[in-house]
């Protein structure tokens, strides 16, 4: 039981990092990316590559993974500067599909469809972290640091510029905002921080393959953000916890046929997404907040 909860806690904090970083571009800059899992994957593969071939110290794996995520995110920034709405969604979808193909085919780095096994544990300043009871401190710590960074950004002039661009791009430009530059910076920051989640995920499981970085994951992350509350601080974390707890609750219902448990989880998850969008589109945290500020 304790191991089970620890595992859940670790996964929730990793997915919270993914949600928080996606929320940063989605809720504040209006960049709705369906390619977030790509940068999760880039971080995981890049970190793993460094850990397996050079050095497993997080002072090596994290910077390399973040740099890789940041650099490759420029490809996502490209359409973000040109188009919006459904066009950008389609572009990010295209990127997601391309990336999955590359993840599956670039066997020397990604291990192909089979993936990579035997990924070394995290090396934090010479101390190897692999027990879940220790690992959870690392993931929660990383989540807190990332929350702090994003919180600072959102409440700075930079965050205001992002929201201004989201509300009216032309007015933001008319008041001196270099819109393409600001959008690019936000995508780069978001992707670099996303890569951190990838590194943690890979070394926690000590095994990764392309299945974790497909479109389904991108949509799952987007659903976490939207269900939790886009543009709110705690929304993505609430969303991540909810969507990860949901399936695990189902596995406790032993009256369900065990062979179909995976499908039933998926069905409930899909239904949950649709129902929440119908009845609570502002998200769990979002709605309340809006009516509060409205009254002030």
């Amino acid at each position: 039981m304790e191991a089970y909860l620890l595992n859940l806690g670790i996964l929730i904090s990793i997915y919270s990092i993914l949600g928080v970083t996606l929320n940063f571009i989605m809720g504040y800059a209006g960049i709705y990316s369906l390619a977030h899992a790509v940068f999760f994957g880039v971080g995981a593969y890049a970190g793993t590559f460094m850990a397996m071939h050079y050095n497993a110290s997080i002072f090596v794996t994290l910077p390399v993974a973040m740099a890789a995520g940041a650099f490759l995110s420029l490809i996502l920034a490209l359409p973000a500067l040109r188009v919006r709405g459904e066009y950008f969604v389609a572009a990010s979808l295209g990127l997601q599909v391309l990336a999955v193909t590359i993840f599956s085919e670039w066997k020397s780095v990604t291990g192909g469809i089979g993936g990579l096994i035997g990924i070394p544990p995290l090396d934090v300043a010479g101390f190897e972290v692999f027990k879940p009871s220790q690992f959870i401190f690392v993931t929660v710590g990383a989540l807190i640091i990332i929350l702090f960074i994003i919180n600072r950004l959102v409440h700075s002039s930079f965050g205001r510029s992002l929201r201004a661009i989201r509300d009216s791009e032309s007015a933001a430009a008319a008041f001196g905002k270099n819109v393409p530059l600001i959008k690019t910076i936000s995508v780069v920051i978001s992707s670099a921080l996303t890569a951190v989640a990838g590194v943690l995920y890979a070394s926690y499981l000590s095994f990764i393959n392309v299945e974790s970085f497909k479109l389904d994951t991108s949509v799952l992350i987007m659903a976490m953000v939207i269900i939790g509350g886009t543009g709110t601080q705690s929304g993505p974390i609430v969303g991540a916890a909810l969507l990860l707890l949901l399936p695990s609750l189902i596995s406790y219902m032993d009256f369900l046929p065990q062979t179909e448990i995976g499908s039933i989880q998926q069905i409930i998850y899909g239904l949950g997404m649709a129902l929440l969008m119908i009845y609570r589109p502002g998200g769990i945290v979002g709605r309340k907040k809006q009516s509060e500020t409205g009254k002030e």
Binding site: E86, G94, V97, L98, T101, E260, A274, M277, P281
Partner: protein
């Protein structure tokens, strides 16, 4: 000869892509509903046809069941998911996430009922015939193209001459027109869903006999439809048709140069380039801001 073989296969695939894509494009163009569960309509129709067929009721009843299933699914989704979300000023993404969720539900329900593996509808038409030395074509290739041609002619006739068709076209050109039209927007969107859903039926049936079916293929179908809609130009049925054909051809002809695992990547590389270089698509309105 290989190139010719691949061209014919490409046209066959392209014809089916065009059918599903035009359905999506018509719905999206006239209602602005990002109907991601269009892929689910496809597998519902395909599996209904398969089921009626293996139960021994024959192809015609199968086709009728598939058509009815597709229409009902489309209309129910519109009525009970999209309309309530839109009433609440739901954003594009709210609709997208809900629709994606429904897609997951359908995929897993079908998987539980029919199994997750491949099934095929066996027909005598599935076997390839050597029509020239080294050129094998199954009669289904011609049937696909013929079906597409017939469907598009009917659609063209409908859009051009019927009152509702004109309304749908006008809405695709300018979504702001809903109110001006004096027609009930609910009714218009129900019509768009009906026609859009019918269009996937021939593609779904033929796919069952050619490539076979599995519950996860709705996803792929949907991605292709979206790609064709954007490459063709949002709001342009003709553009989507051409783009669907072109994507099918590109996917097939790409085999001359790359392994089959890369074909999907080719499609989406084309999509990505289009969005960056010419976001308005082949025949669409300007999209860059």
């Amino acid at each position: 000869m290989l190139a010719l073989q691949l061209t014919i296969t490409g046209l066959q695939t392209g014809a089916l892509y065009a059918l599903t894509a035009v359905g999506f494009s018509l719905i999206f163009g006239s209602t602005r509903i990002f109907h991601f569960a269009h892929g689910a309509t496809f597998i519902i129709a395909a599996y209904l046809f398969y089921f009626v067929n293996v139960s021994g009721y024959g192809m015609i009843l199968g086709a009728i069941a598939a058509t009815a299933g597709a229409i009902i699914f489309g209309l129910l989704l519109n009525r009970f998911v999209y309309v309530p979300i839109q009433r609440d000023e739901g954003s594009f993404f709210t609709i997208f996430v809900a629709s994606f969720g429904i897609g997951i539900v359908v995929q897993n329900v079908i998987g539980m009922v029919f199994g997750r593996g491949f099934v095929t509808v066996q027909t005598p038409l599935s076997f390839s015939v050597e029509i020239m030395e080294g050129l094998y074509v199954s009669p289904l290739a011609w049937i696909s193209m013929l079906c597409a041609a017939i469907s598009f002619s009917l659609l063209w006739y409908f859009l051009k001459y019927s009152q509702m068709g004109k309304a749908l076209r006008a809405l695709s050109d300018n979504p702001e027109l809903v109110r001006v039209f004096g027609m009930n927007p609910r009714f218009i969107s129900a019509c768009a869903f009906t026609i859009g859903s019918i269009l996937v039926v021939p593609a779904a049936i033929i796919s069952g006999a050619t490539s076979g079916l599995n519950p996860a293929m709705g996803h792929h179908v949907m991605l292709i439809s979206l790609a064709a809609t954007i490459v063709g130009g949002i709001g342009s049925v003709a553009g989507t048709l051409m783009a669907g054909l072109a994507l099918g051809l590109a996917e097939s002809l790409a085999l001359l140069y790359v392994d089959s695992q890369w074909t999907e990547a080719v499609t989406f590389a084309i999509l990505f380039l289009f969005i960056i270089v010419r976001p308005s698509g082949l025949l669409g309105r300007s999209a860059a801001h």
